[in-house]
Structure formats: C-alpha cells, structure tokens
C-alpha cells in the first residue's frame, strides 16, 4: 500500500508542477484552444467573447487523468483499492499544488499585479481565463475538485485495463502470430515474385508522381524540406550510423555546398552564371574537399574530441562566411540572392517539378546508401563502429574507411545544400547554424542509427511534424527538446531500428528457415 501511495504522491507532484509550468508559459490557454478546435465550440466568437471554459476544464481533466493513470501503472499487487488510494493521493498532491498556485497568483492578480514584467506569457487576459472568469478561491477550488476526481478516474481506468489480464498477453500473441505468418513460405514467395514487386513499384511511383500535383504548394514546400533533410540524414547516417564517428559540425558541408552553388549560379556578387548541372557537381566536389580538409588532421581523435572539433568547425565556417574578411567572396551577412533555378528546356521549375526532382534524388540517395550498406565497404564501416581496434586487426584500414565515410557524407550534404539554395532562391549565413547539425543528428539517431527507413521516418517526424502543429508554433522547440529526451529513454534504438541482413543458404532451398534446425 505504501508503494502505491508514494507512487501516487510522486505522480501527483510531477503532474502538478508540470501543470503550473504550462500555466506560466501560457500553454494552458493554447492547449485549451486546441481542444476547442477539436470540439468545434470555438467558432462564432464575438468581440467580447469569453473563451469557453469548458475547454479549460477538459484540459485540466486530462491532466488529472494522466496523474491517476500514472499512479496506477504497472501495479502488480492485487489489492484493488491500493491503486485507488494512489490515484487519490495523486489527485490531492497535484490538486493542492495547483490550488496554491492559482489562488496565489489569482489573488495577486486581483490586487492589480501585472505579471508580464517577469512572466510575459501570463498577461491579464490569460489570467482571467485561467481563473474561469471568476474569483481566485472559486477557481482554485474548481481545479482541486477536478484534479481529485479525474485522478481517481484515471487510476480506476488504469486498473480496469490491467485487470483485463489477457489483454496484454493477447496483444503480444497476436503480434507474434502475424510475424510468423509473414515469415512463412507462401507469404515470402508472394513478396519475392517479380510481378508483385513490379506492381508495388508502379503504385508507389504513381503515388509519388501524383501527390505533389494534388496537395498544393504549401505541402510541396514542406515535403521538399523533408526531402532535403532526408538527403542530409542519409549522408550523416553514413558518417555516424555506419562508421560511428560522432560529427557535430555536419552543417559545414551543407553550407559549403549551398554557397558554392549559390555563388556559381547567381548574378551577384560574382556574375558567374554557370550551367546548373555543372554547378551542382562542383558543389558536391567542394563539400567533399571540405570533408577531406576536416577529416585528415583529426580523424585519429577520440569520439568526444571529434565531436567538439567538428562542432567548432561548423561554427568556424558560419562565422567565416559572414565575416568582413570573406565578404568579398561570400557577400557576408547579406547572403546570396537570385540563386540559379533549374529549368527544363527554358521553362523554370515549378514547385511540383522541384518536388519530383527531389523525390528522384531521394530515391537515388536511398539506393546508393542501401548498396553501400550491404557491401564489403558497409561491413567494414560497421565493424569500425563496433570495435575499431579489432576491426583494424582484422585487416580493415580504419583510417581510410573513416575518411571515405566522411567524404561520402559530405558529398550528400553538398548535394542537399545545392538543392536547398536553389529551392529557396536565396541563402545566407543564418541558414547554417549549429541547430541544423543538431537537427540532422537527431533525425539519424531518433530514426534509428544506421537504418535507412529510420532516416526517412526521422526526417518526417522531426521536420514534417512541426509543420503540422503550426498552432503550437511557439511551443514547438520546447516539445522538440522534450521529445528528444523521451525518445532516448523510451526507445533509444530509434523509431525504425536497423535490421541486419539475413542471408539465405546459397545452394539449398532459399526458403528454408535456417535458424530453426539448430541444436546448440
């Protein structure tokens, strides 16, 4: 009983503090508005409209629910009322914390204190909403009641779910049987059939062709960004995911690629308006050379040193680009405008064309990355990542392979950079901050280190999702940071972890399930 009480208390305190935090940053209001959108009761609000407090109640209720669920989670001991106790404790803890906060701030507000000097997101309008447009005491009591009630409800809910014993086991068994069925001969034969593959590929190709036409230029822009970040992710995946080198300055290669392309194809500042294909080639070349320049002296550095040096390198590139020293070359902080646009027989690319081009390049990138992974080179990289000393003793020239990974990764970044500059028609030093490196690194790791579907999924989640949640614009980065921490704790292997290749026995029946026939 004590454990569930303690759990309840802890869960209550945590959720209470989180709720107060969200209050202070104004997220409660935004969250309630979102609920309002969902429920559709936000329309037709007149001038002096008061935002529906029901939404706020629902929002707080959810919090209570989570408190209760958390208090009851994984409760192994059978006593049904211990969970309820935990829920009660949680509700009391969070409820009283919130009560204090609301009553305290509400009273201060009533006395005329304006919080905005210190807490800009807690203006008068928001305060009134939080107080349900009534007095601090009434509001605080409402919160308390709601938290207790919903916390109890939450714990009951959690208990109900866990009480249905078979549920969890049934789910796992279902999953197992599905996996087994997929592995059987007939199913595998279907998927290996040439015709089936052809049909699948044609459907996918058709989808890829028609989607950009259908979803409008806003989505083309977002998906285009996702595509470019997939390319970047593929490149960094080779460096970090395959060969295991922690490079935190990937943006340096991105920047050199983008700037090379921009400077070569824009009328200003140099007036070279080079053929675009050539420009792209040169961008890739310059990025690769940057990779060589960075790689040669530092490659024998240990992991964390490598990280900080590459981070420094990324910053150096950015600072140099915008410095007075190099402004004659790079146009300094003003950036480069009128970057060359690709055209097909004289007609400039529309956003649809761009999307198609990007899709083709992404497919090509995935193709190259996959082929590299399942080859002698790929195995050498992974061996280096696993155990560099032993890899070298097994005959792999680690130095050479690490540089190769760096060069190839840089090449991908160069390509991405050229596309980036071209699509935006402009590029400047502020496009290449440390955050870009961090973003790409997170895409690789959150997606699944060394995994190609992982990179795609990672790019979608980390670059595409924030666009979907436009409403929460201010809170995006906050959520991003929290998501990263959570992902690492809950699922460090990534959203779509890398799977090692299964080789079928060469001379025998290709569908024989090798692993089953072993006595150990």
């Amino acid at each position: 009983m004590m454990t569930s009480l303690k759990k309840g208390l802890r869960s209550g305190i945590v959720f209470g503090i989180v709720f107060i935090f969200l209050m202070l940053i104004g997220f409660i209001n935004v969250g309630s508005n979102m609920i309002g959108d969902l429920l559709g009761n936000m329309e037709n609000l007149g001038e002096e409209a008061r935002l529906p407090v029901s939404n706020l109640l629902i929002f707080s209720g959810l919090f209570g629910l989570f408190t209760g669920i958390n208090a009851r989670k994984d409760e192994g001991d059978g006593k049904w009322w211990s969970g309820i106790l935990g829920g009660l404790a949680g509700g009391l803890a969070s409820g009283w914390l919130v009560w204090l906060a609301v009553w305290g701030s509400g009273s201060l507000y009533m006395q005329g204190v304006d919080f905005r000097t210190y807490l800009p997101n807690l203006g008068p309008e928001r305060m009134r909403y939080l107080l349900f447009y009534s007095t601090p005491e009434a509001a605080a009591n409402t919160y308390l009641t709601y938290f207790i009630l919903f916390s109890l409800a939450g714990s009951v809910l959690a208990w109900a779910v866990s009480a249905v014993h078979g549920l969890k086991r049934g789910l796992t068994r279902a999953k197992e049987s599905v996996t087994q069925w997929l592995d059987t001969k007939t199913v595998r034969q279907i998927f290996d059939n040439k015709w089936v593959l052809a049909v699948v590929m044609i459907t996918v190709a058709a989808l890829l062709y028609f989607l950009p036409l259908a979803w409008g230029s806003y989505w083309n822009y977002i998906m285009g960004t996702v595509a470019i970040y997939i390319l970047l992710g593929l490149g960094l995946n080779i460096i970090v995911g395959y060969s295991g080198q922690l490079v935190l300055g990937y943006v340096a290669f991105f920047a050199t690629g983008a700037y090379t392309f921009a400077l070569l194809t824009s009328p200003a500042p140099h007036g070279i308006e080079l053929n675009l294909v050539l420009a792209v080639g040169l961008s890739v070349l310059v990025s690769t050379l940057t990779g060589l320049l960075l790689g040669l002296p530092i490659l024998n550095l240990r992991g964390d040193y490598l990280a900080i040096v590459t981070l420094g390198f990324g910053e150096i590139i950015r600072i140099l680009i915008r410095s007075d020293l190099l402004t004659p070359l790079t146009n300094g902080p003003k950036g480069v405008t009128n970057v060359g646009q690709p055209n097909w027989f004289g007609q400039v690319f529309s956003d649809v064309n761009y999307m198609h081009l990007l899709m083709l390049l992404v497919l090509a990138g995935l193709f190259v990355a996959k082929r590299l992974k399942d080859s002698r080179t790929g195995r050498a990289w992974i061996a280096i990542r696993e155990d560099q000393t032993v890899a070298q003793a097994t005959g792999i020239n680690t130095y050479g392979y690490k540089i190769l990974a760096l060069l190839l990764g840089a090449a991908f970044a160069g390509l991405g950079g050229a596309l980036f500059a071209s699509r935006n028609q402009f590029t400047g030093p502020e496009d290449f901050t440390l955050m870009v490196s961090v973003n790409v690194l997170c895409i690789v790791i959150v997606g699944g280190m060394g995994s190609l579907p992982g990179v795609v999924v990672g790019a979608f989640v980390l670059k595409g999702l924030p666009e979907l949640l436009r409403e929460l614009a201010d809170y995006r980065l906050l959520a991003f940071g929290a998501l990263l921490v959570l992902m690492m704790i809950i699922r460090p292997e990534g959203l779509w972890p890398a799977k090692r290749t299964r080789f079928r026995r060469l001379n025998r029946d290709p569908y024989e399930n090798g692993a089953a026939e072993v006595e150990v």
Binding site: S375, R376, A383, E386, R500, F503, A515, V518
Partner: protein, 271 residues
C-alpha cells in the same frame, strides 16, 4: 630447414616504469603448435600483442617468415597473414555470425565502394564467393544454421568458435589464439583441443597460443615457452617443461619442485 613463422629476438616492452616483458626471444616453427604459458601477469598477452602488432616493442625485432614486422599497423599485419582471437571475446556483437566471418575476409577481397554501388560482375562474383566461403567456415567450426544470429545472442562456446572462424576467414598462415579454452568445461575443452589439432593438420597453418589449461598445453603443443615476470624461464617440448624445476616453482612457489617429483603422473589422454 623450414623458415620460422615467427623469429623474434630481444623483445622488450615497458609501460611507464614497469617492464612488462624483457628481452624475449621467441621462435615459432612453421606448421607447429606452440604455446606460451606462465602465471598471471607474466607478460604473455603483452608478447602476443607485440607479435600481432597491437604494441610496438621498445626493443627487439620480430620477423614473420623472414619479413620484419615490428611497428606495422595491425591491418597490414593481417594482410601479411597473421590473425588472432582475444582473451575476452571481441566479436562485432551487433552483426550476425555470417557477417562477422565476412568481415574477417575483408583483406582477401578487393572490391571498392564504387563497385558496391554499381554491382558490377567482379563485385557480384566476389560477394558470392565470399558468402560461400563464409558458410563453409561456419560449418567447419560447427555453427551451421546459426549464420543469421546476432553474435551477442550466441552461447559462449559458439562465440569462441565464431571468433576462430572470423580469424580463419582471412586465410592466415599464422593463427594466434588467446586462451581458447577459457571458461569451458572438460568436454568443450576436449572438443576445442581436437579442433585446434585438426586446424593445423587440415589447413597447414601455424598456431601460437596462450593457455592456462595445462592438459591442453601438454596435449597438443609441439613447443612450449614459459614466461614469468616478463622473462622467459624455459622453452622446449612438453615433457621437458613438465619436469622443469623453475617452471614448477614459478607456478606453485618455491619448494614445490621437490613435491612434484613425488607425485609425478602420467599424461592422461582424452577420447
């Protein structure tokens, strides 16, 4: 007179103020099974590491079939034909068994990254041959059917055998085994002993091993080198070493030599 697989003279290696090994001469005849034994801390692994290129000896020279190899990087040494296993198994744990062996074949393959992308005929041929050889090696070490298991999922004995398979994959002429029977029960030890003998006989390679299990050492070694406190104290055939006073005292302390004479036993043979 066959050229020695390893001919080394005066090997000395110091770490800070400590001299790990001092002025060791070691000659490993071709096609032999030679053992290095000695109490813990005697410097056996240090010597091993010098021969396999992990350490650069402070003094001395090492010749591999006549070619000096001190100071060579380890991948070069692997290329020349020396392969090794490790005291605490160091497989590539996330890779499957087959992949570990394929990595072992790295030096004997030529294809470069461009070919990996293009899948040109030479690349495909090489990969196919490599895969075939990998499966053969898997069978040879008795791990048939376990090819797709991630290395860290294999039981201990299987992991040891996989490490040997990986070492054999580079077609070495000299195989260094670091305590191959560590942690094994008598039956596994007997199997490993037979396996090592078979290795030498069927593949015509030279084997140098570090071992603590005296039965194994006495059973299969053609030559035994004994180290103690970094110095070579005895060398010769098993029978000589068994009755060597210094060796006995190194292991059992002073005065033990007299005792051992009393309780001298015949070598036992395992089926």
């Amino acid at each position: 007179m066959t050229q020695a697989a390893i001919y080394s003279r005066g090997i000395t290696k110091c770490f800070g103020g400590l001299t790990a090994i001092d002025n060791i001469d070691l000659i490993v005849p071709e096609h032999s099974i030679s053992s290095i034994i000695g109490p813990n801390g005697a410097g056996k692994t240090t010597l091993f590491n010098c021969v396999s290129g992990f350490y650069v000896p402070d003094k001395g020279e090492i010749h591999f079939f006549g070619q000096p190899i001190e100071g060579f990087p380890t991948h070069k040494i692997s290329e020349l034909g020396i392969a090794r296993t490790y005291q605490n198994i160091r497989l590539f744990s996330e890779m499957t068994a087959i992949e570990n062996i394929l990595v072992g074949q790295h030096t004997r393959m030529q294809s470069i990254w461009v070919e990996s992308i293009l899948h040109n005929p030479r690349y495909l041929r090489e990969e196919k041959a490599a895969l075939q050889q990998a499966f053969d090696l898997l069978d040879f070490v008795g791990l048939s059917g376990l090819g797709d298991t991630p290395a860290h999922n294999l039981p201990y004995g299987a992991q040891r055998r996989l490490e040997i398979a990986r070492a054999l994959a580079s077609q070495p002429s000299l195989l260094l085994l670091d305590e191959p029977t560590a942690g094994m029960n008598p039956q596994e030890t007997a199997e490993m002993t037979a396996f090592i003998k078979n290795l030498r006989d069927s593949r015509q390679i030279t084997i140098l091993l570090i071992e603590h299990d005296m039965r194994v050492v006495m059973d299969i070694s053609d030559q035994i080198t004994v180290l103690d406190y970094g110095v070579k104290i005895a060398e010769g055939k098993p029978a000589e070493i068994q009755s060597n006073q210094r060796v006995i005292e190194a292991y059992l302390g002073p005065g033990a030599a007299a005792l051992s004479k009393k309780f001298k036993r015949k070598k036992t043979h395992y089926a």
